[in-house]
Symmetry: C2
Subunit: 383 residues, 2 copies
């Protein structure tokens, strides 16, 4: 039987239409976009077109899009860039974030705190993983320079109330960043409507290639470049532009966003079937994250009496690709920081299982996954 | 007539063998290398194999190779990583470099100086662009933490005396970094023989893709990560690994290094013919950089009475891709910082022309380029 991939939050296969769009830029239109000659100008035209595509989707201006090497780099540039631009104001700068962010935010905030004298407040979330905008508002001090809250969580799929936080940030004139890496392919990205000043995207979460991302930077946002060199990306991110991947990212985002409603409806139906199946067939299993306000293809559970990594390995043997919550920390013995912040005890959090659906999945995949999970958990519990 | 690409120092077309090696990793073996399941493990195996390939070529250990998003990122990580690791020693840390480095070094050193209290000494070079190791030695102070000298210069092709500088650095227990981005495809990369502790590479200079690089980090070298998040690359560089490009980089470097002697002999012969042709046909033209100790395919000139950008545009019309010296600053009105450091007056430096040969070029290309250059310069001088 063909193995089934149910780990689309970790990464996705590149869409064939994206590969086709990228291919001419490897060996034919291979120029350096900074070169004055025809090869350079062809590369520059592709770069400009891709930038306009992203800008249009985000309802932004083309010069507010900075292409980066991945979503993590975008997160790093947002936090470091703003902190280094504003930390010299005198008193220590203050950043507000949450404890359920991706490690690209968490660890960057911690490094800024430990090495560069920045203060960080991590506003707690509720049992569903939702942050309360009022608590964000209460955490603001006169030294707050940045609020960073993710759009949707990678481990439990919960969507955060960005619009409400955006209004608070706007009213207090504080820069608002969102890590939209998980949300990029599924949720609306209008930066004005969301009220964000900075937004991170990574192409490989929406059937684009790994190794390219973008950071939306609202005009006027103070930002120190954290990768200096040539004047690419208006001196905000040095390095010869990766034209094939930038073209690929624009193509992938355009496809994902134009097919969004159709895809999401299909994925939501599959997800509900998957959640019902697991809750019914795997005794004591509990859904984690918000039951309704979650990413369309995202199902996450805690399963008492089973260990996450063991379930993942058992499911792999059964031909199902799953994860415990985050590929970035797979194999780590630490229970999830996200589940901990949501109030799950370590022994419960250890039984985390994440199944994330994508475009290619079918009803039959869901059935096989539910059967396999019931079987694997049963065996692990009998051990 | 087919246009001729003579700008291989700016970037190169991806080798068809490299494209072939990369293709399976886009949509088939597309896993996240951190995932525990079979897709993840297939990606991890490709990552490990690529790392071993680079390690073997560099005479290094696999865990001393950090894959990055480009050569500029590698340069940034080297300088920032060491500076942030060692700046807290008390007195301001001190870095020694040269004024002819790539902007990824120059501008990073300047940012460290202006924003982070690091002291920087830029040791001058001679008329050929060669730095004197004795002057490096004389610049060392008790607070010197890092020496960064490029392996070969991008604008004038000059190869620097790394081995001698490496011995000085070793004797004084100072970390030694080299930007080998231009040298990677053409010169030996044995890190022990060169005596370097850190070495930057970028794949697109040797027929690999744009958007992937590597930093060699000798075991024990203090380095603070400048892109934090997941624990990829042993927590030295966060971000989901770009497996297709990493495989592509390893494939490209293996091809370039295994064919190096043959390629270099051929390119050197073409280069000599090109240099002779230009010096003979273009009155008052002068070769810049070291006449012998230079990159095999690299020819660079100053041409009095002509402006670099105008020559490049004229040559482009004639179907020849050339540059003034660095794609990263093309279109800039500033005369080259490299030629300035080599003692060329601004009005002479303004006439810079760089023609860089690659694998695909032929004798006929050189003849056409010489004729076109003579013609274009003649027209510009008559204007």
């Amino acid at each position: 039987m063909m193995p089934i991939y149910l780990d689309h939050s970790a990464t996705t296969p590149v869409d064939p239409r994206v590969i086709e769009a990228m291919l001419p830029y490897f060996a034919e239109k291979f120029g350096n976009a900074s070169s004055l000659h025809r090869w350079g100008q062809a590369a520059l035209a592709a770069l400009d077109q891709s930038r306009r595509t992203l800008a249009e989707i985000l309802n932004a201006r083309a010069n507010e899009i900075v292409f980066t090497g991945c979503g993590s780099e975008s997160d790093n540039l947002a936090l470091r860039g703003v902190a280094f631009a504003l930390r010299a104001r005198g008193a220590p700068a203050h950043i507000i974030t949450t404890p359920i962010e991706h490690h690209a935010i968490l660890n960057t905030a911690t490094q800024l705190e430990k090495e560069f004298g920045v203060e960080v407040t991590r506003v707690p979330v509720n049992r569903s993983g939702v942050v309360n905008p009022d608590e964000i508002a209460r955490a603001i001090t006169p030294r707050t320079i940045l609020i960073s809250v993710m759009y949707a969580n990678n481990e439990v799929g919960t969507i955060e109330p960005l619009r409400e936080i955006g209004k608070i940030a706007r009213a207090q004139k504080i820069i608002f960043h969102t890590d939209a890496v998980q949300a990029g392919g599924y949720l609306p990205l209008d930066v004005d409507e969301l009220g964000v000043d900075l937004m991170s995207l990574g192409a490989h979460k929406f059937h684009g290639p790994k190794g390219v991302g973008a950071l939306y930077v609202r005009a006027g946002t103070p930002l120190v470049s954290t990768q200096t060199g040539g004047s690419q990306e208006r001196a905000r991110r040095a390095g010869t532009e990766n034209i094939p991947y930038i073209v690929g990212m624009a193509t992938a985002l355009k496809i994902a966003q134009s097919e969004r409603e159709e895809t999401n409806a299909r994925l939501r139906a599959l997800r509900e079937k998957l959640i019902e199946g697991i809750l019914e067939r795997v005794a004591q299993s509990q859904l984690t994250g918000d039951p309704k306000n979650r990413l369309p293809g995202h199902a996450s559970f805690v399963i008492p009496g089973a260990v996450g990594d063991e379930m993942v390995l058992g499911l792999d043997l059964a031909g199902i690709a799953a994860s415990t919550g985050s590929a970035c920390t797979a194999g780590s013995a630490e229970p999830s920081h996200v589940l901990a912040a949501m109030g799950y005890a370590p022994d419960i959090a250890r039984g985390a299982l994440r199944l994330t659906l994508g475009r290619g999945n079918t009803d039959a995949d869901v059935e096989r996954a539910v059967n396999a999970a019931a079987d694997v958990v049963g065996k692990l519990r009998r051990k």
